[in-house]
Structure formats: structure tokens, C-alpha cells
Amino acid sequence: MSSGNYFTNEPKEPVVKSETVPGPQSSAGIKALGQVTDSRPVYFIADYEKSVGNYIADVDGNVYLDVYAQIASNPLGYNNPALIETAKSDKMIRAIVDRPALGNFPGADTAEIIQGLLDMAPKGQDKVWSGLSGADANELAFKAAFMWYQGKKRGFTKGFNEEELKSVMSNSAPGSPELAILSFERAFHGRLFASGSATRSKPIHKLDLPAFKWPKAEFPSYKYPLDKYEAENKKEDERCLAIVDDILKSWSIPVAGVLIEPIQSEGGDNHASKEFFQGLRDLTLKHGTLMIVDEVQTGVGATGKMWCHEHFDLSPAPDIVTFSKKFQSAGYFFHDPEIMPAQAYRQFNTWCGDPARMILAGAIGKEIAKNNLVQRTKEVGQYMYSKLEALSSKYPKYIKNLRGKDRGTFIAWSLESGEARDKFLKDLKTKGVNMGGCAESSVRLRPTLVFEEKHVDILIQKIDQLLASY
């Protein structure tokens, strides 16, 4: 399957009609929208009707090759015909107009819809709980971890004592115990209050918000190229694992879960080795805490595996894996029956997910499997990486620390400064490429799973043209 099969009318190349991006129509739209809601982060006003496959159109008639794909959340290209068919199905119509309180009144088709998610579950996981966004998915996973941690001490099916029942209503221990989630420096896990407490990417994400007194460990900082610095990087792994071990032993608050991204994405596309992740898995087992892998951005194929942590062959499998973004549906996978609370109404809310989004996830999974898109992404990623490697020797100042080798299209690099990065991304839009940044001075490639060699060629050509003009 090539994207040509899905998109017979996909543009051959970008078209830039306006002199600036945003163009005049976009600028007017941004201003109007700003009267009623925050429109300051808007890059341009998109015309989704006219967007096709890997190309996003805007109101000024510009058509960009999109390697940002709605902050890594568009799975199969704009107006994918298979998803359009799903969106028009009777099942979808019912799901939209009769949205159930899924915990109380699941539908006759709920099991089948859930199976669509489970068909794509990471190795070792056979249960799921659904939420609505990545932040929500992570917080639901935290709740599962806290209930599990206390259940382990109390007895999973045992009731609560009077003191717990009373103290919890005033937000104090023992009913509301002090428990922590350990996360890593530069990590991003969402922006609600608990996920925000685990997030350590940038001050702008956290400033002025109350946060739990949770610990953070250090995420390995490797030297590149990796093959040249094997010994140093191994030491870095060991140093970081020792910090985790120490925190799990001595932090003032018991740590119920260790939360980690397979690749720290918002935080700068920071990678760590298979050995680091296995070492972390071992530490969670040693200290009786859960390992939660946040696959919100890395999951669903982009890294050349359906789930990025599958690159690590972890043994045993992680306890909880969270998802959202490209899957359109959000939530977490797990396998231990004790992670499902024994009592009703503990992991509960009105909607408990959204069948409309779950149906889409099932369709996305089916298309990925049918068209072997994970394997294709791996191949396209390798092709793209080698082309970028060549460009980086041509423009070392603008393509530094290229990372994401053998991680599909999940590729990033750094520039010399935040300013240089911002200028590069802005200029690239005027060449017809929509690309995103991460951390202080990096850019990240987050194309859809139908991004192919021909799109890579255009991308490389546009970057080359732009950097040649610098």
C-alpha cells in the first residue's frame, strides 16, 4: 500500500501562494477567533476539506507538506478514505448521538469496540481502560497505580477502615495518603494537575500551578554519535539508574509508580538505551512499584514498532502503557487483574472514554495491520534518516545531534539556539513544509504513517534549499 492508493488526488508538491505565513486570510481568521478564545498559538487557519494525505491546506490557498501532523496526532493522513468510511458508518452515528456512560450502561457492541483497541495492544497486555486525552490517560493510570499500591498493603478485596473513610473527606492521610509518581527530568506527561506534577519539560507548562511533592530522576543525556561513545553512555545509564534506585529507597513519600516515555518527546526527543529501560524495569520490580510507560506520542507505529517500548524487549512487560494522540482514543493497557480495582466506582467517571473515538482507533489499527504501515514507517524512516545524515554533514550548524536512528520516522535534531530553530521553522513554512519544534532548540519530525519516500525527497529538497540560502 502506498499513500497513492489512499489518496489518488494528493498534491505532488507544496504550494505557497501567500507572501507570508500566516497569510492575510489566516491573519484575519486568527484575529476573529481571538475575540472569543485564545488564538495566539495559531500558525495558520487550516482548510481541512482541501487537505489530502500528507498535505495540509490553509485558507490562503497554501498547501504544506505536513511533518508535524497535529502535534503527532494524525495517524493516516488528512481525509483518509478508510476513516471517512468509518466516520459514516451506522456504528459511528450511534456512538456520536447516543454517547453512553460506559461504566454504567455499556452497549451491546462495547466488547467488540474494545477488542479493536486490544487487537493492537502491546505485547503482554490484554486489558484496557479508556480516557479522553493523554493527560487523562496518564492520570487514570496514576489512579490505578495508587489503588494497586494501597490494595497491596490492605488486601485487594478488603474494605476500608473508619479512619480512612473519615480522613479522606478532608484530603488527609490515611484515606488520602501521600503517594508519589516518579518521573524524569525533561519528561512531558500532560498538563492537568497530577500529570502536570509529573511533567518536567518547561517552566511555561508548570508555572503558578499547585503541584504534588513528587520526585524526579535524571534521564540519560547521551553523547552522539552513539557508536563512538558507547562506554560513556553506558556509564550515564548506570548513573541515572543509581539515582532512581536511591529515590525509590529513600524518598519521603512512597513511590507507587515510575512513569517514563520511551522517547522524551516534548522534552527534546531524548533517547535512552534498551539496557537503561530494562534496568529501570528491574528496579520497579525490586522496589514493588509499577512501571508506567507513556506512549502518548511514541505509540501507534511512528517509531517502526506499534509501541516504541517494544524496541526494548522488556521482561516482564511494563505494568501499564498509556496511549492517546494517533490512536484518537486515549487510555491505558494493562494485564495484571489486580490493577483493576475489585470495588465498583473506583476507576469511574461519567463517560469512561468515548466509543466514537474508540471505533476510530479500531479502524486505525485495522488499516495499520492491513497495509503493514509499521513496517513501511520503519523503511521510510531509515531512508529519511540516511538522507538527513547526509544533509547534516553538509549543514552541521543547522542539523546537530541527529537522533532517531532505527526509530522509524521519529527523528529529531538540534540547532544552535532557540532563535535559530524558530527562524528555521518559520522559513520552512514559506517553502511549504509544516514542521514542529520541541525543547529549547530542537525540531522533530512527526509525519503520519502514510509518509513515504517520495515525501521524504520533497522534505529533504526543501530543507536543502532553505539551508543553502542561509
Binding site: L83, K88, F193, P210, N349
Partner: protein, 509 residues
Amino acid sequence: MGMSSKRGYIQGKVIANCVGKRVFLNGGVARRPYSSVAEEYFPDEPSKPVVTSSQIPGPSSIKLTKELGRSFDSNASYFISDYFNSKGNYISDADGNKLLDVYAQIASIPLGYNNPALIETARSDVMVNALVNRPALACFPSIDYGKILSEGILAAAPKGMGHVWTALSGSCANETAFKAAFIYQNAKRRGSLDVSAEELASCMDNKPPGSSDMVILSFDKGFHGRLFGSLSATRSKPIHKLDMPAFPWPRAPFPQLKYPLKDHVKENHEEEERCLAELENIITKKVAPNKIAAIIVEPVQSEGGDNHASSFFFQSLRDITLKHEILLIVDEVQTGVGASGKFWAHEHWNLSTPPDMVTFSKKFQAAGFYFSDPKLQPKEPYRQFNTWCGDPSKALLARSIYQEITKNDLVTKTAEVGSYIYENLEAMFSKYEGHVQNLRGKNYGTFIAWDHSSPAERDQFISLCRSKGLNIGGCGSAAVRLRPCLVFGKKHADIMLSIIEDVLKTLRG
């Protein structure tokens, strides 16, 4: 089920009340009769409940729930629904039962099952587009998003609130409102000063001064969601909160009124004064006003037991928040979108100044918060931000829901049907003293509740109602709440009333 004789009784009462004709309780102009909207939407809506299994859940529901439970927590499942065969006010289940639904997916179905107008919206090209091309809204909004907002969510905005921020659920709506409050209050505290290096560094360690030590004050028995910030404000039941770390935020007492209201005017006023005094005491003595970013309150504490307070209480609360420069967030997640007989329940209070923020979700399908002061939008971009920032497909639904409500005058109709239900329950309950009491929700649309003599009897009541074809929900410790959709008409009310009386007779023995 002995329906016909009960119907006779109830209809007899109606005729007595209405002198054989419709009365317009809100003094409105003549409109179509009560039930015509449901008939128009659902010409083939069942005329009464159908119960074919010997119990509910029936064998198919039990089997499917068990199967589902292997991979998905279904501990709280009542029965397995068949949404394809649900229609209007009736929910079908996997055993072929058809129940009159006055719980409506925990108060979240606005216009009945399989509403044709919403089906049309769901089938539209714009909906398909919104589903398959879900944008990162804050970065790449679509051409029509502004229009969708202004014709829907914003057209429905409470008076004086011209801005909105969209989210995904009630919890998420409340938490984004909390974030707006914390960012606003800290900006105010800082004044013209820049953010300090210490603030920037300390927030990365989750420590003050960068991580704020300000709080959200909520009320005893309040329910505001189940994520960690919203859950810290939730004070409904232990099961919602146990084993979860929580912020050390304060709670104030919420008035516990005595019913019937007309017989306890003085006591209830004193109770409200007591709660207000204690609130003032907490603000000034226990916490300090400049530490409280916002107070969050529901117009009716719904999960917590349908606890009401008077306009006097809420106006006084508004005055206190203004006096201490604390923001007032009104949580309309459950009360909003028509069920109370006003589009927004807080409109019953006629506040002197609008609340600072009003949150919504449930019946609107879309979620988020309204605000009036543009300063509640952070000065810097990307502070109130996330990948999706809402969901255009839900904003489209919200637009259609608003348009249908307006076109068919469903808020007025809900007020009328609600009064009808209230009057009939009042008359009925006088015969079952000792079993049911504290009927509440007068002049509050269909947002009606009452207490049973014990939690066990309440649970039994709900279970018996279900076995007679009425799907009804509980709240608080021993309360039952009515949460039908907005196309619940008089004919549905009659069937419901008849089943309720049947069950009360059984309980009385």
C-alpha cells in the same frame, strides 16, 4: 403492571390542576402541547416500558457484562444497552427490555436516544471532516471553528460571558478553570514584576514559589470530577477519593436545608447564614483570602445528594468572593443545558455580577468553561494549552443541541413538565411518609430529587423501578434524582409517576 388505573389517578389530578387545559406556569405564550416534541422527533417511540426478562439485568446482560469484565472494568454496569434500538426517552437492553430512562446516561443525554436532528448532524460532511481530521485546535484551527463556536457554545453562553475555553470532560473543564484561576491570581500578585528566576527554577521541582501554594475552596458534598485537582475539590463520597493523594485544599459547609421549604423559612435562612459565616471565617482566619484562588460551587450539589441553596446564599457567596478578590467558578456540568428550567441553573439566582467562570460538559457533549474577564486568558500563550484543546466534533454536536433546544423551546417545556412532576410527587409522597421525604427541586425543571428512609431502601427502590421498566438513578447516601432528557413530556411523566407509586406501595408493604 396495573398501569391503567394509576394513569387514571394521575390524569385526574392533572385535570384538577389545569382545569382541563394547559396552564403556562412561566406565563409564556401558547405553544404546542407538552409531548409533541418527543412525538415529532420520535414517531415510533415506545408508548410504555417493555420488560421481558424476569429480572434486570437479564441473562444476556449478565453474560455480556461478565465477558466485558475480562478486559474492561464493568463492575458498575447495570445492564448492557442496545443503543441501536433505543429511542427517545426509552433505552433498550440486550435482553429486549425497553426502559423509560430518567437517568439518561448520568444526566448526559440531551435530546433523547437516536434523536433525528443529531443523527443528521452526525451524518453531515462537517462532522465527518471533524472526526477524521481532528486538529490540534490551538495551533491549526479549521476555517469554520469560530463560526461553530459562535453559533453553538457561545450562543448558549450565560449572560455576560463572551469567552470560552474548550476541554473534553467535566473534570477537565473544571481543572482548566482552576488553571485559569491560579495563573490569573499569581499574575495579579506579581503585578508589574517579571517572573523571577527563582520561580522558574522552583516550579521545575514542584516547589514554591514557582509552584503555587494557593488553593481552590469547595463545599462539603460538592462533586467536581475525579482527576487529581478536581478530585481534591470533590467532597461527595469516600469511594470517589480513597487512596488518592489530594491537595490540602479547604472545604466549607454547604447549607443543609429542611423540607418542605415553606415550613422552614426561618431555620433555613439561619442555616445559610451559619454556612456563610463559617465560609467567611475559613477565608479570613483559617486560610487567608490571598491564598484562595477560587471558590467552586454547583448550583445544585448533584452527586452529593441534590442539595439546594437559595438565591440569597449564592448572592452572598458572590459578594464574599468579590470582597476578598476570590474568583467564583460555577460548576454547571450536571445542572447546565436546560434541565433546571433555565438554560443555566445559576440564572435562577439573578446574581448582581456574573460568576467569573462557568464550567460545562455532560448534556452539551462538548466541555469547557465560559469566562467574562479577558484577563482570565493568560497573558502569555501556551500556558492554557494542550494537544487537542477540545474537540470540534463535540462542538458541532453542541451547536445542534443548542439550536434544537431553542427551536423547540425545550427549556420552557422542561420547566413546565418539571412543575407537573413536582406537584404530582408532592401529592403522592404525602401517602408514603416514613418512606420518602425531602422532595426538592420545586420550580427547578425536571431537576428533582427526594430521600428514602435508608440507603438500603433507596437501592431497593431503584432496583424495583428498573424491574418495572424505569431506569432511575441515585445520588448522595439515600437520595433518588430525576435526570431525564429535555424531550421528557407529560406522557412520560405519567408513566414514571405510576411506576414510582407502584414501587412505593410495594415498599410500604
